[in-house]
């Protein structure tokens, strides 16, 4: 007894809060039993609210009368994409082949990677591109590359200036952050159809859809980079008489260069992950191959195309990372000579690719591609036969044991009860800074008219996020403690992030059937990589001296992890959980395609049925609101608990959303 009171006295504040939260939950369950089934704001699949119909009307009234402004934008973007396609992917300028054949593209890309990066990256670039060609997907890959380059180029034209502005002004920064949240959390399905209304069917709409999704990381990272330049340097420049413009170009920009490049890199990754979705409005390239294969449930072919996307992503990622890490300095004479020779080789390669057929069209029968397809197919079949019977049991166990109780608590309680409980909870863990945004978000959620669907989605999201955080911490700690594990796991994590979810939907459907669980599994695959990467970074940032001190004091490995590394990396872990959550939410719509229903289904129904357009839009908003709600509560909670010093490394990752 004495021991218990003793420990209570020592750690007074925290157990008390947990105790209060427990009481809150208990009250909720009791009230749920009393009021169950009333005021649940249920809305049937085909039913709409006045708000939904009003949104649909607005869409109908915008109609096809486009104004000159949008037409001008469309024409310019269409021309740009067509030009890039003419250069590398489509027959052009009256010739049966693109202006640059495969040999020219490989030579040029490797040369650029070498000139701005390292020779290793140049080698990787060449190998990656040749591999994609051997897969029999050269033209599709180049179409994808052309669209990605156009979208990224245009994104940067806007993102970098806006990022700089947001870096220099606090007010702009606050407004911009809000807009970026909306751009990233809003499901792409929601704006895909309206975009074709405004920008017509064609490359322009696809490019703009990609751009909207891909620009935010570049803005965030640029702003962050400008903000992190030490005030001392700026002061020094000012006192030496620099004007504002000079300070910007001579001090701020050069000093933030490497972070800006990370932003560019993340923008490229985000653009590539849009490839499959943009194919729904006729974006050219690999996305089409994936979608076509999906119509006939051809896992192998879809995997082959998905792999090409992953390879492109890895090449672009490593090349931009190397370019960012490179210290800019004048080249030595010897390097200049080599760059000159290399340039000549590139010119020769380009000349060949314009003259001879073998250098223009990739000489392949797609043998490797079909072998990969067959291998992927038989692996997935083997796996399904091995584990197929067992997985349904897991699904039913988790669904009946955890998901259904949580879901019925959320959907069966009156909306005002959920409202009161969540706001109280937010206030307990985050104070007023948690409670006020929670109340606003929940109020707006009620307004969207899809409250009940939002609660179903919330239940799945909470479960998925819990799993993501658990697995992410496990993998992250393992990676953070061992370089070797890290280098083995990282390519797999990269693949998890860039392999289009559409590719593994079919095997997952076979494993778990059409169910909410399938959607949760897909979300976990997508969200675990980013979570474990951030945790690993945080663990690695724990000062070596601290770990050594603990080890020499006789702590076991387990003790070092739980008593030293995890507590010190707490901020990184909070951030990892937060990012995991946002990644899970961005998979809600994909979940709707495999039987998760709720908001994901509403959004895709809005995309394909004209009378449900407004409801789809409202469901999209509801997903954003859920994201903001959970984000603000966790942030407020983290702010309260985080007493330790900020770590710049973990902190930086906050901006790396993609």
């Amino acid at each position: 007894m004495a021991a218990i009171t003793g420990s209570l006295q020592v750690r007074m504040p925290r157990p008390r809060r947990i105790y209060v939260v427990g009481v809150l939950l208990l009250c909720w369950v009791l009230l749920f039993l009393v009021f169950r089934g009333i005021h649940t704001l249920e809305l049937g699949g085909q039913e709409t609210t006045p708000l939904h119909r009003w949104l649909t009307d607005i869409r109908d009234q915008t109609g096809p009368d486009r104004n000159a402004f949008f037409t001008a934008i469309r024409v310019v973007i269409d021309e740009l994409v067509t030009l890039l396609q003419a250069l590398i992917s489509q027959p052009s300028f009256g010739r049966p082949v693109p202006a640059l054949g495969w040999l020219g593209v490989v030579a040029l890309a490797s040369y650029v990677a070498w000139a701005f990066g390292t020779w290793r990256v140049a080698l990787l670039t060449a190998a990656g591109l040749v591999f994609v060609g051997l897969q029999g997907l050269w033209q599709e890959s180049m179409d994808t590359l052309a669209l990605t380059l156009a979208a990224v180029g245009l994104a940067l034209l806007v993102a970098i200036p806006v990022g700089i502005w947001a870096g220099l002004s606090d007010r702009v920064y606050r407004v911009v952050s809000l807009v970026l949240d909306l751009m990233q959390a809003m499901p792409t399905f929601v704006y895909l159809a309206p975009l074709t209304l405004v920008f017509a069917i064609g490359p322009a709409a696809a490019t703009i859809a990609t751009l909207i999704y891909a620009a935010p990381p570049a803005v965030r990272l640029t702003a962050h980079a400008i903000r992190s330049v030490s005030p001392a340097s700026v002061e020094a420049a000012r006192s030496l008489g620099s004007t504002g413009a000079q300070t910007l170009t001579k001090v701020l920009l050069p000093m933030s260069r490497s972070t800006v490049v990370v932003g560019v890199n993340q923008t490229i990754m985000a653009a590539l992950s849009m490839v499959t979705i943009a194919a729904l409005i006729d974006a050219p390239g690999l996305g089409k191959t994936v979608l076509k294969a999906l119509q006939t449930l051809d896992v192998g072919v879809a995997f082959n195309a998905g792999l090409a996307i992953v390879v492109l992503a890895i090449v672009l990622d490593r090349a931009t990372t190397a370019a960012g890490a490179r210290v800019p300095r004048p080249a030595s004479t010897r390097r200049k000579v080599f760059l000159g020779i290399g340039g000549l080789v590139v010119l020769v390669a380009i000349w060949y690719s314009r003259t001879y057929l073998w250098a223009a069209e990739f000489p392949t029968s797609g043998e490797l591609g079909s072998r990969i397809a067959v291998a992927a197919d038989s692996t997935s079949t083997w796996f399904l036969e091995r584990f197929g019977s067992f997985t349904y049991g897991v699904r039913d166990g988790v669904t009946n044991g955890v998901l259904n109780p949580v879901e019925s608590l959320l959907t069966g309680s009156p909306w005002w009860l959920v409202f009161a409980v969540v706001v109280t909870f937010a206030w307990l863990v985050g104070g007023l800074r948690g409670a006020i945004p929670a109340a606003v978000c929940l109020g707006l959620l009620v307004g969207t008219g899809v409250w009940q669907d939002a609660m179903v989605t919330l239940a799945s999201t909470l479960l998925a996020t819990t799993v993501v955080v658990a697995v992410g911490i496990l993998l992250g700690v393992w990676m953070g403690r061992s370089r070797k594990v890290d280098s083995w796991l990282r390519p797999a994590l990269d693949a998890g992030q860039t392999m289009p979810a559409f590719v593994y939907l079919v095997p997952f459907l076979a494993l778990f059937g059409t169910s909410r669980f399938t959607a949760i599994a897909a979300a976990v695959v997508f969200a675990v990589p980013v979570t474990s990467k951030i945790v690993a970074d945080g663990i690695r940032a724990v000062p070596a001296a601290t770990v050594e001190a603990a080890t020499s004091a006789g702590s076991s490995a387990w003790q070092v992890v739980t008593k030293v590394q995890l507590p010190v990396a707490r901020r990184a872990i909070t951030l990892a959980a937060n990012q995991g959550l946002i990644y899970v939410l961005s998979m809600v719509v994909v979940g709707g395609l495999v039987g998760a229903g709720a908001l994901g289904y509403d959004v895709s129904a809005g995309f394909s049925q004209s009378e449900l357009y407004g409801k789809g839009l409202a469901a999209g908003l509801a997903i954003v609101l859920l994201g903001v709600l959970l984000d603000r509560i966790t942030q407020a909670a983290a702010r309260r608990t985080a007493a330790g010093p900020a770590e710049s490394r973990g902190d930086k990752k906050k901006w790396l959303r993609s």
Binding site: A193, Q295, I341, V348, Y356, T514, S515, G595, G597, S610
Partner: protein
């Protein structure tokens, strides 16, 4: 490292030089367009299911080879394809399933599109069972017996009732109303995509699991899996007039073609081909099979069918 690089560079140049000597040169295509009446460009919407792709493949093949048209295929969902009529980016939709709402909006109200006659295909929508289940429990083919077996169709998603699996949100469906009005102890669960629906039927057949779900014909899956249709109360004209009160089977859909008004008025040979294009469900399934199962490209699949069915094609062309 420097030496290595130099060697590599030299090696590349040498390889290129040697390999280049024997290569075939790229030739300018010159004037390769077939002679005849100028056909121009046809912008063809291609919706995401294989049956439609089969229609589009054969139409495009004939239009290009026999009429010398340029066919631009655009992969789009139906709703967006119809938007294209208004803006001039789509000339033809080759397989339309009902969609009275879209017809009203674009044909009657906006007057930007016109009907171009049936494709000859009959679309059948309904509730289907995997073959093993229909063989084992033939009584399930009558909707009246469904309630007795509701418990066997229970899943983790159906909340204690039997599960009726529906598909993609773009599918025409009255299933929620049907379940309610026929007083069935079932819950409609949305798979959310055609892919998920097909996979569910495949699994159900392979693992002998009970399943009942929405499906339609013509569909390439029937080449592989002969799903069995459940008889709902028969369709009579007007029984589906009020969506909330529907208690009868789906009507047979006469699939048809829609073209933009501009395209129809221009009266190019391609428009005449769109109008004349008709074939049967078997024809379509055949081409869909070439694409979906034999993995031919759309063009190769079309060629194979056209070569075997020249008389039909000639009839379309008025030969």
């Amino acid at each position: 490292m420097v030496a290595k690089l130099r060697a590599a560079g030299l090696f590349t140049v040498l390889t290129l030089a040697v390999a280049g000597c024997g290569g075939a040169k790229i030739e300018d295509p010159g004037a390769a367009a077939p002679a005849g009446k100028d056909c121009g460009t046809v912008n063809l919407a291609v919706s995401p299911w294989v049956g439609y792709e089969a229609n589009a493949a054969v139409f495009a093949y004939v239009a290009e080879k026999d009429l010398g048209c340029k066919v631009v295929k655009k992969d789009l969902k139906e709703e967006i394809a119809w938007q294209g009529f208004a803006t001039g980016e789509i000339d033809a939709v080759l397989e339309n399933w009902g969609h009275e709402d879209l017809k009203k909006k674009y044909i009657t109200d906006q007057k930007v599109a016109v009907e171009a006659g049936p494709t000859g295909n009959t679309g059948i929508i309904g509730w289907y069972l995997p073959p093993w289940l229909a063989a084992e429990k033939p009584e399930l083919k009558n909707w009246k017996n469904l309630n007795r077996y509701a418990a066997t169709f229970k899943t983790s998603e159906s909340g204690g009732k039997g599960q009726l699996l529906d598909g993609d949100p773009s599918f025409v469906t009255n299933d929620e109303a049907l379940v309610k009005n026929l007083k069935l102890d079932f819950k409609v669960v949305y798979a959310g995509s055609e892919t998920a629906l097909i996979q569910a039927f495949r699994q159900a057949e392979k693992q002998k699991k009970p399943l009942i779900g929405y499906f339609y014909e013509p569909q390439w899956l029937f080449n592989e899996l002969k799903l069995v249709k459940v008889d709902l109360p028969p369709y009579t004209a007007g029984c589906d007039a009020t969506p909330a009160k529907v208690a009868c089977d789906y009507p047979d859909y006469k699939l048809d073609k829609i073209v933009s008004k501009k395209f129809a008025d221009a009266g190019s040979p391609a428009y005449n081909l769109v109008k004349a294009f008709t074939w049967t469900n078997d024809d379509q399934n055949q081409v869909a099979k070439y694409i979906a199962e034999d993995k031919l490209t759309a063009d190769a699949a079309a060629k194979k069918w056209v070569d075997a069915n020249r008389p039909k094609v000639d009839a379309w062309l008025g030969k």
